[in-house]
């Protein structure tokens, strides 16, 4: 934090009590609370999901992104805001609808980073590295939010690599038409760009000490966090005595990426990691990938391919799901119908 800034006091209340934390002039109320270890409710941290809603009962806030889709059902006339999009302009009193506790683990923090090492993976997917000004530790499956000069708001990206105290985050972006961050990487970046980095964030994490078999179901760029999970699992030789499966959904085989790395994880897994690439818009007769025959191929939507592939599995697994919101919702539905308890489903919606 820049010490020249004036700090506001933000008090959040819920029916069980209240907590007060400092909030700088230039940070969102959500990020201020999170970096001070307060478990304010959130999911996307970038204005799309609505989970961080709160009601301002006194004080003055500045709402940055007025049309944020996550705010569609809020009642601004009652003082409802998205904490990830609001800054405090005075001391404030807020109500939040969920229980509050102070975390005992290190929270996320704001850092700076430099984007380097761009590497196109398909015609609309770009791998990039983020070199941090101070090292960061995170759990496999977590994400960071990047803010670039000239682009309003933050963009969330899940880490692809895994290590403790890292100075380099490996990230991947799938370009969407008209997307400003995607355009920055694909078109306008000649060399390096400096960004602000907030994180790590996210609860869809892999912890080896949980000692469970797991399945990862990813749509498109949802593969990012799964790579981190598989990297972490491989580092601790988790597949020596656990089973794992990854279902990676893409439209056509040409849209798939990280296949070489995936085949290495499968090869190092003592036969216990099953990787299937599900093709939704292309029918392929082959059951195995020609170049990486340790990888299976299947036709169909990834949630259906995963449901079929998991039919024989014990229900005692942790399921990780990430990708576009519709894909995540359909997958969650089929996991629940398939008998996976909600406590074992961990997801990120790339909205």
């Amino acid at each position: 934090m820049n010490t020249h800034e004036r700090d506001m006091k933000v008090t959040v209340q819920n029916k069980n009590g209240e907590l007060t934390f400092d909030c700088g002039e230039r940070e969102s109320i959500l990020y201020a609370g999170l970096r001070q270890g307060i478990n304010l409710p959130f999911e996307c941290a970038t204005g799309t999901c609505g989970t961080c809603r709160a009601r301002v009962t006194s004080g003055d806030v500045d709402v940055r992104w007025k049309d944020a889709p996550g705010g569609a059902r809020l009642k601004p006339d009652k003082g409802d805001i998205l904490m990830c999009q609001a800054r405090a302009r005075s001391d404030c009193l807020l109500r939040v609808p969920s229980e509050l506790v102070i975390a005992d683990t290190a929270g996320p923090a704001m850092r700076r980073g430099i984007i380097r090492g761009l590497r196109p993976l398909t015609n609309d997917v770009m791998h990039f590295d983020l070199h941090l000004t101070s090292p960061m530790s995170f759990q496999a499956g977590q994400f960071v939010v990047l803010e670039a000069a000239g682009i309003a708001g933050g963009r969330a990206y899940s880490m692809v690599n895994f290590a403790n105290d890292v100075e380099r985050l490996a990230l991947v972006v799938k370009r969407k038409p008209g997307g400003r961050f995607g355009d920055l990487l694909f078109d306008n970046l000649s060399g390096e760009a400096e960004v602000e980095v907030f994180g790590p964030l996210g609860r869809a994490v892999f912890r080896p000490e949980e000692d469970r078999n797991f399945v990862c179901i990813a749509g498109g760029s949802g593969i990012a966090g799964m790579m981190s999970i598989l990297e972490c699992a491989t580092q601790v030789d988790y597949f020596r005595n656990h089973k794992g499966a990854l279902f990676f959904g893409v439209r056509t085989l040409a849209d798939a990426f990280y296949l070489e790395q995936l085949s290495r994880y499968a090869a190092a897994s003592h036969g216990n990691l099953d990787v299937t690439v599900a093709l939704s818009d292309e029918t392929i007769g082959a059951k195995l990938h020609a170049e990486f025959p340790i990888l299976k191929l299947a036709n169909g939507m990834v949630h259906e391919v995963a449901a079929k592939g998991m039919a024989e599995w014990d229900r005692n697994v942790i399921a990780y799901v990430a990708g576009p919101p519709i894909m995540v919702d359909s997958t969650i539905r089929s996991l629940i119908v398939g008998g996976i308890p909600i406590k074992d489903i961990r997801y990120d919606k790339f909205s």
Binding site: G50, T57, P97, D329, I332, R333, I336, G339, I342, I345
Partner: protein, 123 residues
């Protein structure tokens, strides 16, 4: 008691959530195998339409948006769910499903009456 006809019970397959409008009151009916529940059509978490976001399996209704869930036999909240479901009483007569609808049940976040009970955000 104002019992109103919703539909024939057979119109709602097991483990499905179906939307109805009964005398201007929108609701969803859930057939969870061991019985039926009639509830407001939106999730008490963030107002998602349960006819689309809801999934029923093993007598549990789960909203796929953020995994709030309720056991439909007891209405017990599951996992991290923080608000109870509201329900209309239902009964079957000769295969017809009826609900006791005295007025529309709403969750307080959708305080349409506009009263300024400033505690409504928490209920």
């Amino acid at each position: 008691m104002t019992w109103k006809r919703i539909c024939e019970a057979a119109e709602i397959p097991e483990n499905s959530v179906k939307k109805f409008e009964v005398d201007g009151v929108a609701l969803v009916v859930v057939n969870y195998g061991e019985g039926f529940r009639a509830i407001p059509p939106i999730c008490p978490h963030m107002e998602e339409p349960l006819a689309e976001s809801g999934v029923v399996a093993r007598c549990i209704l789960t909203c796929t948006k953020h995994l709030w869930a309720w056991d439909l036999r007891t209405l017990e909240m599951q996992g991290e769910t923080e608000r109870p479901l509201k329900t209309y009483e239902v009964k079957q007569e000769n295969g017809t499903l009826l609900a006791n609808i005295e007025g529309e049940l709403t969750y307080d976040f959708d305080d349409a009456a506009g009263d300024s009970d400033d505690d409504d955000f928490f209920k």
